[in-house]
């Protein structure tokens, strides 16, 4: 068991987002569990339970990593601590990327 309670978790080493384990208020210093460590990231805005926020700065057009994989790309620059969701991320699958899926057309 662990001593300090974390209120966010990073699911994989490669991820650039953490998932909130609670409703987090803007300006809170969030305790983020990453493997065996706890990182501290200040929430730039309100982050609802189970939503994501950036743990590093992400440039526009760059991938968002969760579960160690690319879940989409940033549609604008995202700062560490900002909410990561449909307003600044776009999925790539489901946009007729048939070459990526290897589907015959």
């Amino acid at each position: 068991m662990v001593r300090r309670k974390a209120n966010a978790v990073v699911l994989s080493e490669r991820d650039n987002v953490a998932v909130a384990l609670d409703d987090i208020e803007q300006n809170t210093l969030v305790r983020v569990r990453k493997g065996d460590q706890i990182l501290e990231v200040r929430a730039d805005e309100d982050i609802p339970f189970a939503h994501k926020f950036a743990i590093t700065n992400v440039q526009k057009g760059h991938p968002i990593y969760k579960y160690g994989e690319i879940i989409g790309k940033a549609t604008r620059a995202i700062r560490r601590g900002q909410h990561v969701h449909v307003h600044n991320v776009e999925g790539m699958r489901g946009k007729a990327n048939s070459w990526k899926t290897g589907r015959r057309r």
């Binding site: 068991m1 209120n7 998932v19 384990l21 189970a50 579960y67 699958r93 489901g94 899926t101 290897g102």
Partner: protein
């Protein structure tokens, strides 16, 4: 087969230690659909958890008792059959069936427990009644356990093809060969095509507004959250519904997203145990294999404790890690394989349903 269901139920009800598969199929099915039902029924009977089988048929159905009996006996497993028409009615069939089943149970009780290596274990992975905690707590924890089972030589089955849509390219990259990669795309594309043919615009409506409110941003993310219950191991094989794996390690079975149907497919393929994550809670069990229920939602654990075996809600509460809960699941798999009864077993849940690929005629 469906016409004999009532009789089979009555026999099982009178014999302690006997279970029955209640289903609606076996007649006026054709082609691949009929083959799949036959493969599922005979596969379930051949599951290592089954000591012996009594096949009860009517006598005139498409998928006759003799066909199932033949497939079971081919593997050297004990089986007998009765046809209601040959026995001249259900009362005589029931009487005879009870006597046969009692004999089978007495023999089965003499079986002695002995140790076996993990490489002989097949665990079916399942998720149902998912919510926002599934992708962040229960599924990642199950993924850790799945990796541990595979690392020690065992086999785990990932199913529910509908849930791959969106992350099939990521899953395919983990294929152990070009053929496996191709098969992953094939089964996912086939499922998408079926959805389209049914008039469903899947890609255009996922994630749903509910998902988005809950925190899921893209289809890839939603799909990955499901796939994560299979950990990070390479995919060794892609199986048809109810097909037995030929390889050890992580394998994929092409099943629909419907929980009870996908469990039936996996146990027909030989899974001796099911590990099932649920966010909102579900009581589903299985007549042939123990089902270990895991939830990542602390509220669900509290409210539905009589159905849940593992509390992964501690991850969400920040009290424990994905790695530790994963180890707890792995330990539970060993305990249940060694005889510990799960909550769904204690409550007597025996849900069963076969996936159909065609209509009845």
């Amino acid at each position: 087969m469906v016409c004999a269901t009532e009789t089979a139920s009555r026999i099982a009800a009178r014999v302690k230690g006997a279970v029955t598969l209640t289903h609606q199929h076996g007649c006026t099915q054709i082609g691949r659909d009929a083959e799949q039902t036959l493969r599922t029924l005979s596969g379930v009977a051949r599951n290592p958890n089954v000591a012996a089988t009594l096949v009860v048929g009517l006598g005139c159905e498409t998928i006759g008792a003799e066909k199932i009996l033949e497939l079971i006996e081919r593997e050297g497993r004990p089986a007998e059959m009765l046809n209601i028409q040959d026995e001249h009615g259900t009362l005589r069939t029931t009487k005879k069936g009870v006597s046969i089943a009692k004999r089978m149970v007495v023999k089965a009780r003499k079986t002695k427990r002995e140790p076996f290596p993990l490489r002989e274990l097949i665990v079916g992975l399942e998720c149902g009644g998912s919510d926002v905690t599934s992708g962040i707590a229960a599924n990642p924890a199950l993924g850790v356990a799945s990796d541990a089972i595979v690392h020690d030589g065992g086999t785990t089955i990932l199913s529910e093809t509908t849930e791959f849509i969106g992350a099939e390219h990521i899953l395919a990259e983990r294929g152990s060969s070009p053929h496996v990669r191709k098969r992953i795309y094939e089964i996912t594309y086939k499922m998408e095509r079926r959805l389209k043919a049914a008039g469903v615009d899947f890609l255009g409506t996922q994630p749903t507004p509910g998902n988005i409110r809950g925190g899921l941003t893209t289809l890839e993310e939603k799909s990955l959250g499901c796939i994560y219950k299979a950990g990070t191991a390479r995919v060794q094989e892609v199986l048809e519904y109810a097909e037995k794996p030929r390889k050890n390690g992580l394998v994929i079975m092409d099943t629909p997203g419907q929980d009870v149907e996908s469990i039936a497919g996996m146990i027909a393929g030989g899974a001796q145990l099911i590990a099932f994550t649920t966010g909102q809670g579900t009581p589903v069990g299985c007549p042939i294999a123990p089902v270990i229920k895991i939830t990542g939602n602390p509220r669900t654990y509290k409210m539905m404790k009589e159905h849940i075996d593992i509390d992964a809600g501690v991850i969400v509460e920040g009290k424990n890690t994905v790695a530790n809960v994963g180890k707890e699941i792995f330990d539970e798999v060993i305990k249940v394989s060694s005889g510990k009864r799960t909550k769904s077993e204690k409550l007597g849940h025996r849900e069963f349903a076969i996936t159909r690929t065609g209509s009845t005629f």
